[in-house]
Amino acid sequence: MSEANLVERVRGGDREASREFVRRYYPSVLRFLTTLCPNPSDAEELTQEAFIKALRGLRKFRGDSGLRTWLHRIAFHEYTHRRRAERSTLPIPESTTTPIFEANSLLALDLERALRCVPEELRAAFVLCDLQELSMQEAATVLSVPVGTVKSRLHTARKRLSDLLEPEPEVQIHVSQTR
């Protein structure tokens, strides 16, 4: 089903289309908020709130940006609004709950850990552009910043993450044999 067709059917109150809407876009938006929120249950709650708002306000969606961009923007707005309300200054803890995404490789886990070590604004740019594969213009729309800012943050994020992910250089020990 095309995006336009899906939107029309959801607007018409089609329950199955609404379900498809959630199945298609929820994982992506949740992944974005999971990298921003301190714990997975907060990310789930905010993503669900974003989707409820999106489905209720779908008549306002005109297709100027893609649906994914629109949804990410709503989700990011929910996140920043909650963050302003809570004013948390705690660093992100290691999650002790069951992960909601099933990583199928250690590399993925390494990157998740590395993401937690970079500032939120760099993390958001990287996740949107490189993980979610939004264009820089779309990421700029989600984050409400200029495209140049996204470009700069993405560059810095990649550099830092690359440094964090590079393996430690091997130390060569030369042992000279005694005669």
Partner: protein, 424 residues
């Protein structure tokens, strides 16, 4: 699409690909689907009350403390009710069944005769009967309006009546007598049927209700419709207590009479307002309404449409939360006027998203309304010293079902048959 501005390390590229491939756990997705769709209105051929009771309410935590009466039902009380033909106070609780089997309370009500007090999953409290509905909103503030005449839903006093009203169209409701349930003998009614939703999809429903055989009072109902979370509804019958039916309204809480306010609006719509002309196009301002979350709407006589992001402006207040785009660029929806009393009336609104509280409007403000001819923005009409009328919620007052209240079947009771106070 990757952005190869530089050469990200090979480790980063591989790790990114790996993380992109990690999938959301199915139970997390299922949970989310149910939680989200429980909040979303959908059209269905089956009576909406059926879906509502099968699905339960949403996932939001309860915002207010519930007054939970201890269950004082006894066989003696039930017999008294049956013997006197007395309905008595009934206490109803609805739960949603969580995936781990736990019950999450989603609403609670007390009913005596035609009067009911109910608390929903968001902490809003409702009292209806005596010809009016009062709502004590969780955020504070009370709205009152005339009670529309609507068919009895899940609040009938007898199990037989409940099943007949809500499920009477089903061909078979089987009845078993003398079933042992929680240590007592009860009647058990069962429905196993298919329902067809608005898109023609068949949804299986399994429902059981147990009731007291002497008084026919319902005791518990369990419902599971395909695609929805199961729900459990329980009834008990405590001693009569009129205090339970009153809303606990704190002193000083503002009360908004929706019928009075809507009558005021209709009077303004039929009267003359303040007229301005921009570029040969006229607009006539009738009234301005605002609420404490910063939503404001100017009601005006105007026969042109405008895009959402080019709506009302109030000088000295930054109310819009979304950036403007080119008018009629397609990014935002178009707001069209509606007829009221034979004249085109437009609602000029500020486009806001998100939750806001505590926005203060002065008693009078300077208003700017956009003036369009077709898709061309001609300019703004400016009106000074416009009195601000205060609503509890501007959209709830003006467009309770997303369209102006004066249109037929749009949520405002104006023009609908209502319950007379003396009937209840």
């Amino acid at each position: 699409m990757s952005h190869r501005l530089d050469n990200p390390s090979e480790s980063l590229s591989r790790a990114t690909q790996a993380l992109r491939n990690s999938s959301l756990r199915q139970d997390a997705l299922d949970r989310a689907e149910d939680a989200i769709l429980a909040h979303v209105p959908v059209r269905s051929k089956t009576p909406s009350r059926l879906l509502l009771w099968a699905a339960g309410f949403g996932a939001a935590a309860l915002a207010a403390a519930f007054v939970l009466m201890p269950a004082q039902t006894s066989a003696a009380e039930m017999m008294r009710i049956a013997a006197k033909g007395d309905i008595g106070l009934r206490h109803m609780r609805t739960f949603r069944v969580e995936p781990n089997g736990k019950l999450l309370l989603t609403s609670e009500s007390f009913t005596d005769g035609a009067q009911t007090r109910m608390i929903d999953a968001y902490g809003n409290q409702y009292a209806y009967g005596k010809g009016r509905i009062e709502i004590l909103h969780a955020e504070g503030g009370v709205t009152v309006e005339r009670q529309p005449r609507k068919p009895e839903m899940m609040n009938a006093p007898s199990a037989t009546e409940l099943l007949k009203i809500n499920f009477g169209q089903h061909p078979k409701i089987s009845l078993e007598k003398d079933v042992l349930w929680e240590g007592r003998n009860v009647d058990r009614h069962t429905i196993d049927t298919d329902n067809v939703d608005g898109r023609g999809k068949t949804l299986r429903l399994h429902l059981t209700m147990v009731s007291d055989p002497e008084s026919d009072r319902p005791l518990e109902m369990r419902a599971k419709m395909e695609g929805f979370q199961a729900s459990v509804t329980r009834w008990d019958y405590p001693a009569s207590n009129p205090g339970l039916l009153k809303l606990p309204i704190p002193k000083g809480t503002p009360v908004f009479d929706l019928n009075e306010q809507r009558a005021e609006i209709l009077e303004a719509v039929a009267s003359k307002g303040r007229r301005a002309t921009v570029g040969g196009q006229s607009v006539e301002l009738l009234q301005l309404w605002a609420d404490a979350t910063g939503r404001a709407t100017a009601i005006a006589r105007a026969d042109y449409a405008y895009p959402y992001d080019h709506g009302l402006e109030i000088e000295g207040m930054k109310l819009a939360t979304e950036p403007k785009s080119e008018p009629f660029s397609g990014r935002y929806a178009i707001v069209k006027p509606h007829l009221a009393k034979g004249r085109p009336i437009q609602l000029f609104t500020v486009y806001r998203t998100g939750n806001h509280q505590g926005v203060k409007f002065a008693d009078s403000v300077t208003v700017r309304l956009p003036v369009f001819r077709g898709e061309k923005l001609l300019g703004y009409a400016r009106f000074k010293d416009v009195p601000v009328h205060r609503a509890w919620s501007v959209p709830f007052l003006l467009e309770p079902m997303n369209q102006p209240f004066w249109l037929p079947n749009n949520g405002g009771n104006e023009g609908q048959e209502t319950v007379a106070a003396e009937e209840s």
